[in-house]
């Protein structure tokens, strides 16, 4: 039997010193609806207990729309919605909470795997990367999709009530194992994963640092939001990837903190980024 349960002591934790971005400055109030999805697939990221959402690093959602498909954090979107509602109801409050809504593990801590949204349109993937509090600068860039070259295996397993087939690939420095179902004819998955003949319901690297696992498939009418473009400057994958890594490895240094003694603050921590290149 395959080992498919969620808990792995050595998975990468949320551990940077960055705080989740301010909802005002990530554009929560100026979002526009660009499409609607009739189906969304929910994924747990690095769950300690797959039955408890507050043990996830993130709860992701793949929103399958007509014109575009989006992968983003449910926690982040709920926080945006709650903030927007709160802002409307309390126009005189004068201040607001930065982290309203549903929360996962270490909710206040920023992670690029929670605070980036991915839009899939044709052969293009666009990452909208919200950076932690203290930065107030967010970025977006395009890259081709899909870029993973999968090898199919004949192994099967049932995940999220669907029969799945195994596939493997080596991509950007790591070896990944994905489980996809041909029952759902969508060639995507969580985060940047995709390119298989069916939806990916579970994917992880062979070191099990990162594990995305589907926990539900919902039908409904889900608006697909896009943040205002002016708040997300155009950049490149290399630059955004490097900054995200630096912010996790040594946040205070990456934001240029200077101590009272005039010395640059550096508190490095080991960090395994999902993409190694």
């Amino acid at each position: 039997m395959l080992f498919l349960s969620g808990q792995h002591a050595f998975c990468q934790q949320k551990q940077g010193s960055g705080q989740c971005p301010d909802p005002f400055y990530r554009g929560a109030l100026e979002r526009k609806v660009i499409d609607h999805a009739s189906t969304r697939v929910l994924y747990a990221l690095n769950a300690q207990d797959i039955n408890k959402m507050d043990t996830y690093i993130d709860l992701g959602q793949l929103q399958i729309g007509k014109a575009c498909t989006k992968y983003c954090s449910v926690f982040a979107e709920e926080a945006d919605n709650t903030f927007q509602k709160w802002w409307k109801e309390h126009p005189n409050a004068g201040s607001y909470n930065r982290s309203l809504g549903m929360k996962g593990r270490n909710a206040s801590v920023w992670s690029e795997y929670q605070w980036s949204a991915f839009f899939f349109q044709g052969d293009t993937l666009t990452e909208w990367a919200a950076m932690p509090y203290h930065i107030f600068q967010h970025y977006r860039y395009n890259e081709p999709f899909p870029t993973m070259k999968w090898t199919l295996s004949q192994e099967t397993a049932t995940i999220c009530e669907h029969k799945c087939q195994k596939a493997t690939c080596h991509w950007r420095g790591r070896d990944f194992i994905a489980w996809f179902t041909k029952d759902i004819p969508v060639r995507k998955g969580p985060w940047k994963f995709g390119g298989l003949p069916g939806l990916i319901l579970k994917v992880y690297d062979t070191n099990r640092l990162y594990t995305f696992e589907a926990i539900g498939i919902e039908k409904g009418n889900f608006p697909i939001y896009q943040y205002p473009q002016k708040m997300y400057g155009k950049s490149t994958r290399q630059k955004v990837w490097k900054l995200q890594g630096d912010l996790n490895r040594d946040f205070w240094k990456a934001i240029g903190t200077v101590s009272e003694q005039g010395v640059l603050v550096s508190k490095p921590k080991p960090y395994e980024q999902l993409e190694l290149e």
């Binding site: 189906t39 039955n51 549903m102 970025y139 069916g198 240029g256 550096s266």
Partner: protein
């Protein structure tokens, strides 16, 4: 066996031989157009996909695969077209599909995971997730938690905001002295640290009045609750013996220890000790934290008693005392290098919950210290362009500190009512005893040498204050009324006694060469200052939002401050009266003062009372990238001066208006601009209302005989530009600042030998100050290094009245520096930093006669982590000064090792490795240059061991 092998081989071979099959074709819709779809192939019946391909823009697809199966299933799929499959023979062929638009029926899978919704403002940090092996107390772990900063003084900030409450199990036991908790509660006893944003401590206002305050709560593990825990630390060490008197010579040539205790003169003595005992009890209805800490190693344990916030906003009490002893001034080095202490702190904090909503608390803190300072100073005062006063002084001082603070409080905090009352009682009985040797001379056309004299000072400075603060909140309809009253009384009966031969009528005659009178015979001067302060305050405030962009804040502040001051100077000398300058030391002719006789010249008995009612108002315009704030506070300020010696009563009432304007503008995402301007005016200053002389210290006598109160108008403007681009790791900022002050009075200085006489004179004066500062840093991938540079320039222009001459004088200073940090390996980090400063000042018309002071410092530090249980830190620094006669470069080195074992923690500190004994600092205050040489703690080693007693 052979047969089987052959069979196996044949089977494998046939697999290899099974030729590659290519199936291609088109996928078109009913109109014959291409559609978004992909095609898969699997062996018939299994469902396992062998290969897959997208249909291209023309609808063409091509599948290449190998299988032994006789026939295969070719399927076309796509979200909008459903699923269509054809079973065909396993051979290369064309298979075309014509698909219909059809919604794919997806199987819904309901989410079983338990959703957690948290709309609250509380964030929890699990201590275990952030604790590292070197961490002992909760303060060590707090430093690692994202968004939390712990400053050197123990103050905690969350996202740059100072916390306003610190709770242990939701009770505010320590009332702002939370350093006691962070430095003493074991990290292993805390389950989680909760950060509460928008914390509203008043239950009645929760959900009604939003605050921007942050609070921290420590949630303890169950095992740490309801039990008494006792921790202990003991340590000891030694330091290098004192050098022979010659070896420890101070440049000036005077003996280092005028007190004559050369054996005991080494800082801290030969033996070093340190110890602490901490007891804690945290239960549901009762909390207690009591501890003792003491040392003579130079560690400042009194820092733990710092009140980082006040439990209740009590009125400030400042009984006025312009008198003090002259002590050897600080070295400018970290306190640990010079602090010669015998410190003890003892504190008891108790909290008792009477019921769910009511609690009473008692906090007692006692600090005792005996601080020795030893140093030598050289002051070079400007008298005129061609004449300067040089003073050399060797001093040894001993300060005895006894501070006792007691606070008792009652708090009712329920959904329906709020009452808080805090009674505070503070008393200090501190004293300074100083023995010094003073020599002074004037240089210039008529050089004078005023001799070499022994000076004794004794300043007894007890102080007592008591205050009560009451706060209640009442609900009136939808609004709530917040009433806040605070009143207090403080008293200071202080006496400064000095014995200076110069002051004595027999021996104190100038010029040099006169025999010193034996100390026993010399008469001293005594200054008594008895001051009272009675203060009361009431305040309230509210804010409203208008439209989307405007916010108005209003508040009312009323306060009354009554200062009663009685001073008596008993001094055998004559001080100048009126505008005349006579020899202050000519004891034979004491003038009759025009201000009410001789007595009046040396006595003060007055009440100085101020009353103010202020309407605070500020208007804010706020959009996404622009904030403009206009402050327009109006203050009706009234003063009453009752001089009982001069039989003079005056009162003044002013309507004061302090407008200010500030702007924050986010120009682009990377660039910010801030600017502001303000005006303010202060009227009257308790320092400038004495008609009789007061001895500030043994070298300075001051009085103010002007007919009107001082008035100072301050104008200020500032602007700054910041650039931040994290993608390029580039950060830069530049700022400009301007300040101008108009005073209607100027302080005039007159020097008589080493004694200065300061008088306020009715003469308007203007001072200007300009400064520019900038800094930039850039990070590089190479060795994970970062480079930072900074620089600044300051120019000030002002006027000085010295010996009845008015001088226009300018001072300028320039500083710049940089730092470089890099880590060649994971287990080592290196930081190098340096700074340079140069300052120069001159009087107008004498630009070339000025002296420039240059100094620079360099520091190199290295942290090494050989194993996870051991941490080593090494550092070295160089301090250079161009005016120091000897030892221009002062090098310091320190090392520290920490080892954590199962039951005990060990720490070894080696301080001042290069065994520096003296350190000279030169500072420059406009016209005057001060050189201060301080004795340092010699090379020393301290080893400590820490363990849990209970």
């Amino acid at each position: 066996m052979k047969r089987y092998l052959i069979l196996l081989f044949a089977a494998t071979f046939s697999r290899i031989l099974s030729a590659q099959t290519i199936i291609q074709g088109t996928v078109l819709d009913e109109q014959g157009k291409a559609t978004e779809a992909f095609v898969t192939v699997s062996p018939k019946g299994t469902g396992s996909i062998l290969a897959f391909a997208d249909a291209d823009a023309k609808g063409n697809y091509k599948l290449e695969f190998k299988t032994d199966a006789d026939s295969v299933t070719v399927s076309v799929s796509g979200l909008g077209i459903g699923n269509q499959a054809k079973v065909v023979a396993n051979r290369s062929q064309r298979v075309n599909f014509s698909v219909k638009e059809e919604a794919t029926e997806l199987k819904e899978v309901s989410v079983k995971a338990q959703k957690i919704r948290q709309n609250g403002d509380t964030l929890s940090y699990l201590v275990g997730a952030y604790q590292e092996q070197g961490d002992r107390v909760i303060g060590d772990v707090l430093k690692r938690m994202p968004g939390i900063e712990v400053a050197d003084d123990g103050g905690i900030k969350y996202n740059g905001k100072s916390i306003k409450k610190f709770y242990v199990e939701e009770m505010d036991l320590l009332q702002g002295r939370y350093g006691l908790a962070t430095n003493n509660i074991n990290a292993s006893d805390v389950a989680s640290v909760q950060v509460m944003e928008h914390h509203q401590p008043v239950k009645m206002l929760q959900g009604k009045e939003l605050t921007d305050d942050v609070a921290i709560n420590l949630k303890l593990k169950d095992s740490a609750k309801g039990t008494v825990a006792i921790n202990m630390m003991v340590g000891g060490g030694g330091q290098a013996p004192l050098l022979s008197p010659q070896g420890g010579k101070i440049p000036s040539g005077t003996a280092l220890s005028p007190l004559g205790e050369s054996e005991g003169a080494s800082i801290g003595g030969g033996l070093l000790w340190t110890g602490e005992l901490v007891a804690m009890y945290f239960a549901k209805k009762r909390q207690n934290m009591s501890l003792y800490k003491g040392n003579n190693t130079g560690e400042d344990v009194s820092k733990e008693l710092t009140e980082h916030y006040s439990g209740i906003n009590s009125v400030g009490l400042y009984p006025f005392c312009p008198t003090g002893a002259i002590l050897p001034s600080g070295s400018g080095l970290p306190q640990k290098r010079t602090f010669d202490n015998h410190s003890h702190i003892l504190t008891m904090n108790h909290l008792e919950k009477l019921n769910k909503d009511t609690e009473i608390g008692l906090n007692i803190a006692y600090y005792n210290d005996n601080i020795r300072r030893e140093g030598n100073s050289l002051s070079d005062h400007f008298i005129s362009d061609d004449s300067r006063l040089l003073m050399r002084e060797s001093m040894t001082s001993e300060t005895k500190v006894n501070n006792l603070n007691i606070q008792a409080r009652y708090n009712l905090n329920s959904e329906t009512g709020f009452v808080a009352n805090v009674l505070k009682f503070d008393t200090n009985w501190n004293s300074d005893r100083v023995l010094g040797q003073l020599s002074s001379e004037t240089t210039g056309d008529i050089p004078m040498n005023y001799g070499n004299d022994l000076v004794r000072q004794h300043f007894d400075r007890p102080e007592l204050s008591i205050s009560n603060t009451f706060n209640t909140i009442k609900n009136i309809g939808k609004n709530s009324l917040n009433l806040h009253f605070s009143a207090g009384y403080a008293h200071r009966p202080n006496t400064l006694t000095v014995e200076v031969p110069l002051l004595s009528p027999q021996g104190g005659k100038m010029p040099s060469g006169t025999a010193l009178s034996p100390l026993g015979e010399s008469e001293g001067a005594t200054q008594d200052v008895t001051s009272h302060h009675i203060a009361g305050r009431f305040n309230t405030g509210y804010s409203i939002r208008v439209g989307d962009y405007f916010k108005f804040n209003y508040g009312i502040n009323a306060s009354a401050n009554l200062h009663g001051i009685v001073t008596d100077l008993r001094c055998p000398l004559q001080l100048p009266q009126g505008g005349e300058n006579k020899s202050a030391w000519d004891a034979s002719s004491i003038d009759v003062s025009p201000l009410g006789g001789t007595e009046g010249g040396l006595l003060n008995d007055l009440w100085y009372n101020t009353y103010s009612i202020a309407l605070d108002q500020s208007y804010k315009y706020e959009t996404h990238d622009l904030t403009i704030t206009l402050g327009l506070p109006l203050n009706l300020y009234s003063q009453m001066l009752d001089d009982r010696i001069r039989k003079d009563k005056h009162s003044y009432t002013h309507l004061l208006f302090f407008p200010s304007l500030s702007m924050n503008w986010d120009i682009t995402r990377d660039l910010w601009f801030n600017a502001g301007a303000s005006y303010s005016k202060t009227v009257g200053d308790p320092g400038g209302i004495y008609s009789g002389y007061i001895m500030n210290n043994y070298r300075s006598f001051q009085r103010s005989y002007v007919e009107q109160l001082s008035e100072t108008k301050n104008y200020g403007a500032n602007a700054s530009l910041r650039y931040r681009n994290a993608l390029q790791a580039l950060f830069a900022s530049i700022g400009f600042n301007f300040r101008r002050s108009h005073d209607n009075q100027i302080y005039g200085y007159t020097y008589e030998s080493a004694t200065s006489v300061v008088q306020a004179v009715d003469q308007p004066t203007i001072a200007d100050n300009y400064s520019v500062n900038g800094e930039a840093s850039k990070g590089f991938d190479f060795l994970r290094s970062t480079v930072r540079v900074f620089g600044g320039y300051n120019l000030s222009k002002s006027e000085r009245l010295i010996a009845s001459n008015l001088y226009q004088f300018n001072a300028q200073s320039l500083n710049f520096g940089g730092s470089l940090s890099f880590s060649p390996f994971d287990w080592i980090g290196v930081v190098y930093s340096c700074g340079f400063a140069n300052s120069r000042s001159y009087t107008k018309g004498n630009e070339n006669g000025s002296t420039a002071v240059s100094s620079n410092t360099q520091r190199l530090s290295m942290s090494i982590y050989p194993t996870q249980k051991l941490t080593l830190t090494l550092s070295a620094e160089d301090n250079y000064n161009n005016l120091t006669a000897i030892n221009r470069h002062a090098w310091f080195g320190d090392a520290k090792a920490k080892l954590k074992l199962k039951l005990v923690d060990l720490e070894l500190q080696l301080n001042n490795l290069f065994d520096q004994r003296l350190y000279t600092r030169v500072s420059y205050s406009g016209l005057d240059i001060y050189t201060q040489t301080s004795q340092l703690r010699p090379r020393n080693a301290v080893m400590s061991v820490r363990f849990k007693l209970l």
